[in-house]
Subunit: 249 residues, 2 copies
DNA sequence: GCCGGCTATTTTGCATTCATTTTTTGTCCA
DNA sequence: TGGACAAAAAATGAATGCAAAATAGCCGGC
C-alpha cells in the first residue's frame, strides 16, 4: 500500500461540545450551520492529524447527520482554508508549509496593525484601563513563568485591541486567520525562549504606551513588528523545536 | 402583498462566461467549483439587485445543474460575505449598509497598507519601473479626464503592489474583500470630484516615492491614508450622489 | 372595502439514491 | 517472493425524493 500522502485514519471520538461561535453569526438553526461550527472546532482543535483525510461517512455517523449538510460544511471550511478538497479524493486537513505559516503570520500582523490604528481613533479610556489591567496580569504570569496564563492573557490583550477597533469585518477576518494557525500556536509554545519572552514584554509596554497616546501610525508599526517577531520565533521553533526540555519549573 | 424585505425577482439572463478565477485555485474540475466561480461572478457583476433573493430553482436551470452543487456554492458565497442565508427563507444578495462599507474600506486599507509594507521588503527594481509606467499612464488618463482608463490603471497599480508583497494569502484575502465592494466601486464613480481626483494623484506620487525608497512604515501610512480618503469620498458620494451631472467632457 | 384566518402552492432543508472514480484486495504469473 | 493485473469494495460527486416551513392565494367576517 501507501500513496505519497500519509493516509491517517480519524480516531472516532465523541464530538466536542460546540465551544463558542467565534465567527459565524447565528447558524445554529440549520443543521449545516451547526455542523459547520462543530466541524470547524473539531479540525481547529487538532482532532485530525495534519494532512489526514476527513472521511465523510465516519463524520456523518459521528455527528448523526447525512452527507449533504456535512459536505456543505466541508466546502465552507475549504473556502476558509482549513481543509483542502482534492477532486474525487475527498477532503484533507490542510497542511501548512513553512511558507504558508509565514504568510499567515504576516497577514495577522497586518490585521493587528490595522486594528491598532483604528483602535486609536475609537478606544475609550475605560478600555485602555482594562487592557492595562490585562497587561499587569500578564506581567505577573511572566514573572511566575506561567506560560499558559501568559499566553491566555496575551491573547486577550490582542483580542481587546481588535475589539477596540470597532470593526466587525476586521474582527471576523482576524478570527478566521487566527483559526488557521491556532493548531500551530497550540502545539508549539515557541516563545519559551527566555530572551524572546522578555522582548515581547517590552514590546507590549510600547504597545500600551502608544495606545495611551493614541499614536496610530506608531502603534501600527509596533504591532506589526511585534507580530513579525512572533512569526520569527514560531518559525525558528518549528525548524529546531528544542530548548524547552531542560527548563526550570 | 409585500413583506418588509423587497422581494426582487431575478431577471433570468444567460450566464456570463466565467471571467477568470481570481480566488479559487482549480475548482473547474468539479461541478460545484465551476458553479461557485460562475455564481460569484454573477453576483459580483450585479446581475441580482441588492437585497434580491437568489432563487435556487431558477439558477439551477440557468446553470443546468441540480440543486446540490448549487447549494454548496451558495454556502461558500455566504461564508465569503457576498450573500446571506436566511434560515428556511433562502439566500439574498447581501445588502451593505453604510457602516459595512466603511468597515470594508478600512479592512482594504489595512490590507493594502500591509501589502505596501511587505512589498518594500521584496519588490524588485523592475517591478517598481513597471508601476512607474502604470503611474504615468494613469497620469495621462487624469490629464485627459478619462475616468474609466484612470480607474482601470489605478486598480492595476494597487494590484501590482499587492502582488509585490509576495504573499498569496494576502492576495487572496484582498481579492475577497475587493469582490465584496466591487459592486459599489462600479456603480459609484465617486472620485468624479475634481479636487479629490487631484489629491489622489498626489497621494500616488507619494506612494511611488516611498516605494522607491523602500520606506516600509511610511508607505504603509500613506497607503492607509490613501484608502481612507477613498473611503470618505465613496461614502460622501453615496450620501449625496450629485455633482457629476454638469461636468465638462 | 379592508383585515384576519385558512388552505394550496412553492421553496427550502435534508436524506436517500445512483453513477463514477478511486482504493483496496485478491490472484496469477514471472 | 514480488510485481502486475483484475475484480471487489468503498468513497466521492451529483441527482432525486420527501417532509417541513414559508409564501401566496382565497374566502369569510367585520
Amino acid at each position: 500500500m501507501k500513496s505519497t500522502i500519509p493516509d491517517t485514519g480519524v480516531p472516532i471520538t465523541p464530538p466536542t461540545g460546540n465551544g463558542g461561535d467565534r465567527q459565524e453569526n447565528r447558524h445554529e438553526a440549520s443543521l449545516h450551520g451547526e455542523t459547520l461550527l462543530r466541524l470547524r472546532d473539531y479540525v481547529v482543535e487538532g482532532n485530525i492529524p495534519e494532512g489526514g483525510r476527513v472521511p465523510e461517512r465516519q463524520l456523518c455517523e459521528m455527528l448523526g447527520i447525512s452527507r449533504t449538510p456535512l459536505r456543505e460544511a466541508l466546502k465552507v471550511l475549504a473556502a476558509e482554508g482549513l481543509i483542502e478538497l482534492l477532486p474525487n479524493r475527498g477532503a484533507r486537513v490542510r497542511q501548512l508549509s513553512q511558507r504558508d505559516l509565514e504568510e499567515l503570520f504576516d497577514v495577522m500582523a497586518g490585521l493587528e496593525s490595522l486594528a491598532g490604528r483604528l483602535a486609536c481613533e475609537a478606544i475609550t479610556d475605560a478600555e485602555i484601563t482594562a487592557i492595562e489591567q490585562l497587561h499587569y496580569e500578564m506581567y505577573g504570569h511572566y514573572l511566575h513563568r506561567d506560560m499558559h496564563g501568559y499566553f491566555q492573557t496575551n491573547q486577550r490583550i490582542h483580542e481587546s485591541i481588535v475589539a477596540a477597533a470597532r470593526n466587525e469585518t476586521l474582527k471576523s477576518a482576524y478570527a478566521n486567520f487566527a483559526g488557521r494557525i491556532r493548531r500551530v500556536r497550540y502545539s508549539a509554545n515557541f516563545a519559551r525562549k527566555r530572551q524572546r519572552w522578555a522582548e515581547a514584554m517590552r514590546e507590549h509596554e510600547a504597545i500600551l504606551d502608544a495606545l495611551r497616546r493614541r499614536a496610530a501610525s506608531e502603534l501600527s508599526d509596533i504591532l506589526f513588528q511585534h507580530l513579525r517577531n512572533k512569526r520569527t520565533a514560531a518559525i525558528e521553533h518549528l525548524t529546531e523545536p528544542r530548548e524547552d526540555a531542560p527548563a526550570s519549573p
